[in-house]
């Protein structure tokens, strides 16, 4: 330790919104980099749907999940690809952020940031951006795996990809905001995974990710319909499954407006809860 340290003068004049956005974008790069260096996150959040898609595609490779109008067999990989895409959205948003922020609360990261001139908005831009970017990469890996290894036919119409784009984006935002809200629940960073993973696991089982949604009793379908994952999975099925399979949905409809509505309601609810509960630090604890 030695030498003099001269403050490098670089005066900037920018609006506070401009600064918050600029620092938010900087946070995204920082957060994404840190995400991929956290081994357990990479496995349980990023790779988990990929692993599950592989297992399901291989173990049910003899089973048929229906036929298209042209008489093509719908393979397990084809059937479960949209389900795993939806699961990925939930994990990248909700599971990732709920655990990540609960850890940051208890390990002092948030306290350090609270003492720095980082706008809280930039912090959230960083977290949402991290969920979006890692979720997008995860979807890319799932699609590439499904297409190349398991020969799942991907939709050719632009319309389908547009639905994918908005279901994905709205789904990630909704999951991420709910993840931030849920991060207030665990009492410590250590208990975060124990609190969060059962929630996401149960949701995945009742929302048609691991089990065929049409096989579930109606009452359980109705319970699942309260939560956003069922709607994300339905949206993904509408994109990737042949239209004939719409008969397996509730009310035999893909119900895109319903998907948008439920996700929007959860998004707003998450924003309200977050604004009421999120604190940089637990003051006077």
């Amino acid at each position: 330790m030695s030498a003099t340290m001269s403050p490098a003068r670089a005066s900037r004049t920018e609006s506070s919104i401009g600064r918050a956005v600029r620092l938010g974008l900087l946070r995204i790069g920082y957060e994404v980099r840190a995400y991929f260096r956290q081994g357990d996150t990479v496995f349980f959040t990023f790779l988990f749907p990929v692993v599950m898609l592989t297992i399901f595609s291989v173990s049910f490779s003899e089973a048929s999940f229906g036929q298209t109008a042209d008489g093509d067999e719908i393979t397990a990989a084809w059937f479960f690809l949209p389900a795993m895409l939806a699961a990925g959205v939930l994990l990248s948003g909700l599971q990732n952020l709920a655990i990540d922020i609960a850890m940051e609360k208890s390990d002092g990261t948030l306290k350090r940031l609270a003492g720095s001139p980082l706008p809280v908005v930039s912090y959230f831009i960083g977290k949402l951006g991290q969920s979006f970017m890692t979720g997008l990469m995860q979807a890319g890996v799932l699609l590439a795996l499904g297409f190349t290894v398991f020969q799942v036919p991907l939709p050719e119409q632009a319309e389908n990809w547009w639905v994918f784009a908005w279901v994905f984006t709205l789904g990630v935002l909704c999951s991420a905001i709910l993840g931030i809200a849920l991060s207030a629940v665990p009492r410590s960073g250590k208990s975060a995974t124990a609190v969060v993973i059962p929630i996401t696991l149960v949701l995945q089982f009742i929302s048609g990710v691991y089990l065929r949604f049409s096989d579930l009793p109606e009452w359980l379908q109705n319970v699942a319909a309260v939560f956003p994952l069922k709607w994300m999975a339905q949206g993904m099925r509408s994109v990737f499954l042949p239209d004939e399979l719409v008969v397996l949905e509730q009310n035999e409809s893909w119900d895109l407006p319903g998907i948008a509505l439920v996700l929007a309601i959860w998004l707003v609810a998450g924003l309200v809860i977050t604004s009421l509960t999120f604190r940089w630090i637990r003051k006077d604890s």
């Binding site: 030695s2 340290m5 001269s6 900087l26 840190a34 940051e104 002092g108 720095s116 001139p117 003051k283």
Partner: protein, 299 residues
């Protein structure tokens, strides 16, 4: 002499948690460019006080001004002017030293040069290492680097050298002297009294939530507590005498005994002795008294 400008002003600060009073009417100032050491045993209210000044905690009553701003209302502009080295850090550390510092530098309007800061804390060789792979002492140096990278006017150092080996502590002192020479005002808490004596201009000693002494470092405890002590063994019995002229006492002693006194010591009380004396008396804690005896016994 004109009154120096104060970067920190604390008046009758109180903080209570239910029935517990953590800080009980503490008042002090920190002048611009000064290093002020806040000393006291664990649980005395040091950390509560410093966290109130940093804006992390609310206060129950009293007035606090940090850089002219009430910390409870300090905005981003205010935060850009202070630097904080928290007492503990357990962050996951999934970024490298250089990434962490570049990132934090970007949050401040006039940051220091990142490479210079890394060099200043002696982590050039570790700049590309993930923070979680560093040793405890090295992580602590990253904390210090993050605290100073924004070129703060006022730096809070809450037990900054815990876990440092003696060499790292010396280098840290050197770094702090550089900051001092650049005009940075510093609030330091530490358990190492030699550190406070090395770096501090003035010190406040806090015990049981109250300020028991507040003075320039070399006047803490008052004049009497700094009076040298002559100690020797005579007929198997320990004898001691406080005196301003130890040489004369020793001369008389040699003449009286007619030879070399056994186990002769002339002790000039250090800040640590004075501190333990103060905290021991005010706190009336057996532990502190024991510590005092141990220190004396060790001499």
């Amino acid at each position: 002499m004109t009154t120096p400008e104060n970067v920190v002003e604390v008046r009758e600060l109180r903080k209570t948690y239910g029935d517990l009073t953590a800080v009980d009417g503490v008042s002090f100032d920190i002048h611009r460019g000064e290093t002020f050491a806040l000393l006291g045993p664990n649980g005395a209210g040091k950390s509560t006080t410093i966290e109130i000044l940093e804006g992390y905690r609310s206060r129950s009553s009293g007035a606090v001004s940090v850089l002219g701003v009430d910390p409870q209302k300090g905005g981003l502009d205010w935060k850009a002017r202070i630097g904080i080295v928290l007492q503990s850090s357990g962050e996951s550390g999934n970024v490298t030293v250089a990434e962490q510092l570049r990132h934090f530098a970007a949050l401040y309007p006039n940051p220091r040069d990142v490479d210079e800061v890394i060099a200043a804390v002696g982590l050039e060789a570790k700049a590309g290492s993930l923070i979680r792979k560093l040793s405890g002492g090295q992580r602590r140096r990253v904390d210090v680097a993050v605290g100073i990278v924004g070129a703060p006017e006022l730096l809070f150092l809450d037990e900054p050298t815990t876990g440092f080996d003696p060499e790292a502590r010396r280098s840290f002192w050197k770094l702090i002297r550089t900051l001092q020479s650049e005009g940075t005002s510093i609030l330091l808490t530490t358990h190492y009294l030699d550190e406070a004596a090395q770096l501090g201009d003035r010190a406040g000693i806090i015990a049981g939530g109250r300020m028991v002494d507040l003075a320039p470092i070399d006047e803490i405890g008052g004049r009497e507590s700094r009076v040298p002590l002559v100690r020797w063994l005579e007929n198997g019995e320990r004898r001691e005498q406080r005196t301003d002229s130890p040489a004369s006492v020793v001369t008389e002693l040699v003449a009286r005994i007619g030879g070399e006194p056994e186990s002769l010591e002339v002790i000039r009380p250090s800040l640590e002795d004075v501190y333990l004396d103060l905290v021991g008396h005010e706190h009336a804690s057996d532990l502190s008294a024991e510590a005092l005896n141990e220190t004396e016994a060790a001499r």
